[in-house]
Symmetry: C2
């Protein structure tokens, strides 16, 4: 008996990355190539848009010109838009099912971080709990993305390699910039990561590869101690080179668990007299200025680190496309309630991964920090084991198309 | 009569750029190709190093492997190191002349901004004033570089095009990042430029080319008015798209000439209780939060905009090499006390420049702001005349060599 043709829907959720559109390109390719999938709907702004029936037909963009998929894969942020919404209780899910019926959806793909996996878990759990109610058969597949690399089970997350490549590339450039003067100076680079230091750890890569990288690295995985920090910096400043470059995760905490950064500033002397939040870079900058007294500046990589598609990792973009395609294959095989994962092959001289699926329940809402055996015993952050883990993920450069001096992006 | 062989010395000064090493590569190539120049000395950390006789022989790095020049040209910041020193009075210059004798220097090349041109002016002026004293014949040539593009006479400065390309590329990526959510939000991007807004104006390029760029631009060339600013932002927020992206020069000033940014923060509630300086981005961020109340964040491009060689403009790098080479040719022709300049050819359908020299006295210590006929009458910053001026400067991409995922740099 031939399969009934059904439609697919795909959405993106959570913070933007340089690879989330690559995964979308993979899902679209997988759907286009299947004779069991008819229309591919994109939900605008994730599940929020789906609930509002804000859907866009994606096929037309790519059926005639498959090269548009390459353009999409190298466009940063979420082409379909994103949201921060978590799906709530059964009442909400019932409405979602009405729409799944209305649009004849058989395959539901959701690309995102922890919140998105939670949505996939809730939808598939609902289907399981109501198996006797004659619900339509929908395959719910989650495909991970986060620059934070903090999801469980998967070896790494799509998006991380590109952000890590940006950090490594930029750290080398910042170090060159710092190296031109003879005066003692400290530069603090604040890198994203509230609960896990994976991205900040990438600041060790250019140091390892070229000697031009972070001299000191502070991660959320280790409690921050002011005195130790000042001693570390003073020791580095007493070395042969006059400049010290420090990488710090936005999420470093004191031993009591409170954040070092993100403090509210009040009553300061700004021309408008407002309050202001400041990040950990500025906090450490003022600490160095006061306790050591040398020149100090802080640099926040900010959103640049997550949307710099022009210097995305080819490894990351290729893998992100593949895991998207694989998500479609697994759904067509009948899997549901799964998150797609990477497994790094051991006993291989070269870096190789295989893709598998795992029950989304076992990965949702777990934050995977850097394991203790990847951390160094001193203040350099991570050890060679962690370097070996990160290195293959930043490798390779994409054939970015430029027009008039800037990259060409895909436009929905 | 054959010319006597003499040595050359070259130095770099002022803030790093992505193109200052390209100019160094040009000077080295010019020297290597001349049979009238023997040794090429590099002064470490500019004139400061020269006075300390901290010199390095450059020929050996390139004589055997000319491709190292390509690597040097794509290495950010100053390979020879830099300084912020201005040459002082005659006593200091007499000592410099002793060293010029000692090292048999006939050609003196100095790559830098306004301070460096001041040094060339002083040295050549001293030679002129003491023409009757039998001083050795040294040709002093200044070659400009600054991301600020604020030197006089020259159409533009080496280094500007690459920084502008980084700004345009990054603004497009930041806009994509901002576009993913439906909630009203303002993003303020702080760009370098104390006295001239050329680099901030580059934020208009991606808007012009793709629609994804700064919605509002604030430049030092126009006095900043708080009320107008809030009105501008509110008007943009009431448009169809929920996000507004603002580009602002670090050096914008109120009508009374005081800086909007760089205010000292005191008595704020940070965990260490220190004072802190803040930039204009943070100041405007708090202003928007308080007066409009929508989500607002600020992004400071910081040193990244001046050292991002991985996305340097090919036009800029090629021109920077050529102007370095031309400097050597002009010195060999007997010119001294000159700054090398670009002239844009009119009556040409395509962008073309020619290189010429100008008395350094007529360029030193002049800041060239954006001319009034390049500014728009509204809050969008600059007009199409300015766009036409900037566009060719960011064009073209370089063949950056990557190894293990990050660019390979030249190492002295």
């Amino acid at each position: 008996m031939p399969f009934e043709k059904m439609n697919a829907v795909v959405g993106q959720s959570g913070g933007p990355t340089a690879a989330i559109n690559a995964t979308l390109a993979g899902v679209i390719k997988g759907c286009l190539e299947s004779d069991r999938i008819d229309e591919i709907y994109g939900m605008k702004n994730g599940i929020e848009g789906f609930e509002k029936e804000d859907l866009v037909s994606l096929g037309k963009y790519f059926e005639k010109d498959i090269r548009q998929l390459d353009l999409l894969a190298l466009t940063p942020a979420a082409a379909l838009g994103s949201c921060r919404k978590k799906v709530g209780g059964d009442e909400e899910i019932e409405k979602i099912y009405e729409l799944l019926d209305k649009y004849n959806i058989g395959y539901f793909f959701y690309i995102g971080g922890n919140d998105s996996m939670d949505t996939i878990a809730k939808l598939s759990d609902y289907a399981e709990r109501n198996a006797d109610k004659g619900l339509r058969d929908v395959k719910f597949i989650g495909i991970p993305k986060t620059i934070d690399n903090d999801l469980g089970v998967t070896d790494h997350t799509p998006g991380y390699g590109s952000a890590a490549k940006f950090v490594a590339t930029t750290m080398q450039e910042i170090c060159r910039d710092c190296a031109v003067y003879t005066k003692k100076a400290v530069t603090i680079v604040e890198i994203m990561g509230r609960d896990a230091g994976w991205l900040t750890a990438a600041a060790a890569l250019s140091k390892y590869l070229t000697g031009m990288g972070a001299d000191l690295i502070y991660l959320p995985e280790k409690p921050f101690d002011e005195e130790c920090f000042i001693k570390d910096v003073e020791k580095k400043l007493s070395g042969t080179k006059p400049y010290v470059v420090i990488a710090v995760s936005e999420g470093i905490k004191f031993a009591d668990g409170s954040y070092v950064g993100a403090k509210k500033l009040t009553n300061y002397d700004d021309p408008f007299g407002h309050t202001m939040l400041t990040g950990v870079g500025k906090v450490l900058e003022s600490l160095v200025s006061e306790k050591i007294g040398c020149k100090c500046r802080s640099v926040e990589l900010n959103v640049l680190q997550r949307c710099a598609s022009h210097v995305a990792s080819k490894c990351d973009i290729d893998e992100s496309r593949k895991i998207g395609e694989a998500g479609v294959k697994y759904a067509l095989k009948g899997e549901t309630g799964k998150m797609m994962c990477f497994r790094r092959l051991k006993n291989s001289d070269v870096y190789r991964v295989e893709i598998f699926s795992e029950s989304v329940k076992s990965v949702a809402n777990i934050v995977r920090a850097i394991p203790a055996n990847f951390l160094s015993s001193d203040s350099s952050g991570v050890n060679d084991k962690c370097i070996d883990y990160m290195l293959p993920l930043i490798k390779g450069e994409n054939a970015v198309i430029y027009e008039d001096g800037i990259p060409v992006h895909f436009e929905l």
